[in-house]
Symmetry: C2
Subunit: 215 residues, 2 copies
């Protein structure tokens, strides 16, 4: 069966899906979509035909295109349930999804490439102001996440000792924060969990530096 | 069983959950959290203890607090599966989730209250510039959504003729767009689906104007 992932090495949303695929041992062909070259290859007509949102990642499997990283991960978890990315009880599943969404909705989209481009273009801010903006939203999001993880007593993974959807979101977001020089000292649980997860094969193999399109 | 929804009449994220609860016929006690009064009641210590993200909605059920609107909706769908909010096949479920996330991740969080406050506070923009910002991201998101709905041939609901999680996100976002005077003429499928859905009892009863804290 043909499975294609439209990806960009540095995209944290694409990285989430790469972790899911590696975690479940699923082979795929990576098709890089360069988010900066030629004004952004995600805006090219051929790709827009596939995914009108003009964003990555997108997964093509058995002729069906699936977009949105969390929708792709849930799809993979339903089709290939072992090892699972979600706990078994509704309350625990909700907890995992809530942690994942607190990153995927309330941190990442406010700092992604297109928002940075709009801040620097139409709104006329410089790179420094854009970086301050990014660090602000990451700090707000991480403070809440740290409080939740501390209350849960999380040390290895976000929820207990088993990898879940929340972990797939955490590690790429921490990498983004480090790239932006966010001070991570106030977030010991996040830092500890990131260190534990980053050593796992699925997380290491899917790291941006290990991708065919890495620069 | 005690079920409490922390809500704010005008919050589109809270409205999604109110639709889910009404759609499934689930009774609840609405506890209003005023997002503007006293610097924002979501930042008060008592609420922050419950939800460190200091955002609404949050659902308290059987002593468990669940935050993040989509996590709450998935939780309700797992606990109270009839009528369902997701289709039965993984591909269709992924489609619904992808449409929902395209609103919940890529439109709403970039235009919500706290981002507006940051644009007008630290970045020094006026209300007009903040409104232009909001309309921009809504227009970008709606253009992609319209293309997808047109391709699907959607007329009543986002996917076919059955209410799903995607519809719970669409109607509140369209209401936000109307409040910001976004020209909806380029999005006939979105407008048509919104009109169909808005007449359904679960959507009408959960409308901001019907809430106990409506102003």
């Amino acid at each position: 069966m043909q499975r294609i992932l439209y990806t960009y090495f540095r995209s944290s949303a694409a990285w989430r899906v790469r972790i899911a695929l590696a975690f479940k041992g699923l082979e795929y062909t990576a098709v890089p979509v360069h988010l900066l070259r030629n004004g952004g290859e995600q805006h090219a007509e051929a790709y827009r035909e596939l995914n009108p949102q003009e964003m990555i990642p997108a997964l093509l499997e058995e002729g069906e295109l699936i977009s949105q990283s969390l929708a792709i991960c849930e799809y993979l978890d339903e089709c290939y349930p072992t090892p699972p990315l979600l706990p078994t009880t509704p309350v625990q599943r909700a907890l995992v999804r809530s942690l994942a969404l607190s990153i995927a909705c309330d941190i990442h989209p406010i700092n992604n490439l297109r928002v940075m481009q709009y801040l620097k273009g139409p709104l006329g801010h410089d790179q420094q102001a854009a970086d301050v903006w990014s660090r602000h939203w990451m700090a707000v999001g991480f403070a809440a996440l740290e409080a939740r993880l501390a209350k849960l007593g999380s040390e290895q993974c976000c929820v207990g000792t088993t990898v879940t959807l929340a972990d797939l979101c955490l590690v790429p977001q921490v990498a983004n924060a480090r790239r932006l020089n966010l001070d991570l000292a106030p977030y010991p649980h996040i830092v500890g969990i990131d260190a534990y997860l980053s050593a796992l094969p699925a997380f290491a193999a899917s790291h941006p530096s290990q991708q065919p399109d890495a620069e």
